[in-house]
Symmetry: C2
Subunit: 517 residues, 2 copies
Amino acid sequence: MNGAEILVKTAVESGVKLCFANAGTTELPIVAALDKIKGIRAVLGLFEGVCTGAADGYGRMTSTPAMALLHLGPGLANGIANLHNARRARSPVLTLIGEHATWHRQNDPPLAMDIEGLARAISPWVRTSLSPGTLSQDMAEAVRETALGRVSFLIAASDLQQAEMADAAVAGSPFAFDPVDGEAVERAARLLGGNRRTALILGGRALGERGLGEAARVRAAAGCDLLTDSFFPASMERGGPMPAVRRLPYFPESALDVLAPYTAAVLAGAHEPVTFFGYPGVPGRLLREGQERVSLCAGGQDEVAALRALADALDGPSAKGSGQDHSAAQHRPGLPSGRLTPEKVCLTLAALQPEGAIIVDEGLTTAFDYYGFSAGSPRHSLLTIAGGAIGYGMPCALGAALACPDRTVIDLQADGSALYTVQALWTEAREALPITTLICSNRSYRILEMELSRSGAGALGPAAKALTSLSPPAIDWVALGRGFGVASVAVDTVEGLAREMGRAFAEGGPHLIEMRL
Amino acid sequence: MNGAEILVKTAVESGVKLCFANAGTTELPIVAALDKIKGIRAVLGLFEGVCTGAADGYGRMTSTPAMALLHLGPGLANGIANLHNARRARSPVLTLIGEHATWHRQNDPPLAMDIEGLARAISPWVRTSLSPGTLSQDMAEAVRETALGRVSFLIAASDLQQAEMADAAVAGSPFAFDPVDGEAVERAARLLGGNRRTALILGGRALGERGLGEAARVRAAAGCDLLTDSFFPASMERGGPMPAVRRLPYFPESALDVLAPYTAAVLAGAHEPVTFFGYPGVPGRLLREGQERVSLCAGGQDEVAALRALADALDGPSAKGSGQDHSAAQHRPGLPSGRLTPEKVCLTLAALQPEGAIIVDEGLTTAFDYYGFSAGSPRHSLLTIAGGAIGYGMPCALGAALACPDRTVIDLQADGSALYTVQALWTEAREALPITTLICSNRSYRILEMELSRSGAGALGPAAKALTSLSPPAIDWVALGRGFGVASVAVDTVEGLAREMGRAFAEGGPHLIEMRL
């Protein structure tokens, strides 16, 4: 068994099932090992940002890591933006990178870069294996690190991958969360038990099915409100019987308005809410000085267990029956009609999305209304752009579809962002995945036009126009989709969109619908 | 005048004329300043790798920096791979990055990253401006740094950009090379004046028109051979009256064979040749222990001036008349015929490329023969993938076309690599640039198949096949090109290719020709 084979064997035995890869010469022993050691499926991405974004999507849906296999520093560089999203999503992602042979690295060949330096921008867990004998342990630790909702980086030189090993023991990667912080739970219980108007602010796995079940118990016992910790939660369960959670607005003035009435906040798996950008004259932190706050758990702890302990401490009702949010109307909106607008796009999707759908939302300005409209839609998962690095949507949809092969995936996708990682469409086609991509084709970076107008810049000059408009020429999304092998159509009315969505869901496989706005 | 305006004004006065940008909210004051302060043209790239690769191409052709304006850490991350190529090409590139407001950075908002950490993987010159008062000096120094053939990074927080300044003096950026190292020149002259068989190994600006003129004088005086320092020179002048330069082969065995006969080597603007990857049993450094070597100049020196001093020391003939390489046949190849093969693609291009063309070569395995075939083509510039990070070709062609508006640009482009930064096609269309992209559509990462076969891996298993083949589905390049607004056709014969190349050159504007191999 060689070094590459022990790497793959360790990953397999640690539960890794999928590898999103764009390998080069220095990863070829690993590619060969993926054939020799069974258990990991290899999926090609035509650009590393596709691979890392897909690993993020897979991790968000399964809470187990997929492997992203990347080529040297440049391959890692191309994948960093979506690893940043994964980091902010606290998604488990195992990043494996080949490096030049140990004896060749000093010759500074053309592709040589500071791989560790790049990786450290994402994660504190960056390891370059130093000998074939440590490869298995290094891989096991890399996998274990991801269980904390982190991106880990393992760098393995090509000669270590090629080294034949006599003694090839496979290391294990047992993992356990740190115990719940009983004191923090007690403080939170006291806060919630008092007379304060309290926000239970949820993030991370607290927005998953089990976390929300416990949060609903807390709410039932204490009468608090449930909120997300940002406008861009990594993933959450919604609709059907799931409890309604208020999403923090994007623009800071509205977010401040939402949070103003509370005298206290309990944070569960959540960061203290901050504004997305710093605006002159607007505070960057959204909770005021006077608002009491308790953080229920820290890094290595399990937010679900912490919420359960809190619900127990408050004598919350059993999980069954406490979830249903009877205050929210449990109905989908009706279908609108006529020419598509952003609002009608959101209404149509909320009206037609099938039960169990995974909604990947990178619709940005077009999708602002979707969250509210879909509160009464059937049970679904919602994924958003946790780290704000555009180009996450298509890859994330890819990873989610491979993670959950029986579910329909719908990517509500801004056009400007879609162009960052548009190559993902090809992998959708190769793997015949049931993903429907709804391109919000407004032919501009609309958010920048909004921000320019917010800043009081007045009429746009030629540079501002050139840098915010995606037309001319208008991008022909139908041509792009077909070029990558995805069935593609364009629509400009609700009726057309509804018809094409119905067809896409019924047919299965990948579809792209350009919604001309 | 605000901070953003002083940044732009300083850049204008330092000679910056072009800005390839994909800006976000934290760069909007700079966008507005590009409208207010005249002198820099703003060109939108739909992905940051397009912007940085275009800045590289512009820098290679003009030896002056274009600005790449990028959004925070994720924007920089997306542009790093092509900045790596720029670094290896010693191309002047000015990178300007917006950062969160200084007071907001500590709140760790979603898009926050270690921008400096990322930038340091590319350049030792990374500066975060600390106050509005230093912005002009910081910009001037950033521009000056690029004159050394480096990538510089200036990071400016949004509140500094917005700050109004009473005293807005613009700093200058004078630059001068370090003096020529007379001792090194003497040592080189002694080596060349003796009886040794000597290789004059050229890199950087030594492969430009003036450098090659001086190198030809040295050759005429000393009878040495001219070689490139790697298979991937950043840019060189070729054809017509330019002296013939032997290109170092890609695979190490052939490169060792080429270098074996020499007893000495003089390096001018060149690195000591190394193999692209480290192969078991093959040395990583291509010059042997016993081969004497002299490096003519170091980092801050001018390789052209050093070569001139060397030619003078050797009493080389005047530049006029010494360049012509009478030993090489000064004829283009004739047109082949029939079904396209990699060899016929190269012959056809060499036979038809117009005088003064800029050839961007990212054809990889398809283009292996092009260099030899085009030795007798009319005068042209050749750019190659200096850093080995794929996805440089289309952006580099874009930058070259904007740098040299009167010249035809031809991008001989591998399909796998093209997909990395395919968004560049759109900017070609928007700017109506005379770029003809020749897609080498072999539907595989052929270089990896070759490397797998070199390594004796035997028949490819399913993972190796999945990770090296770009089909199924076959990418429809005609659809992709049209989707981005570029006139596109597919051909599979020499006759078809010749016809479409003729049409593209005659019509001007961007064209894509998918060459189905």
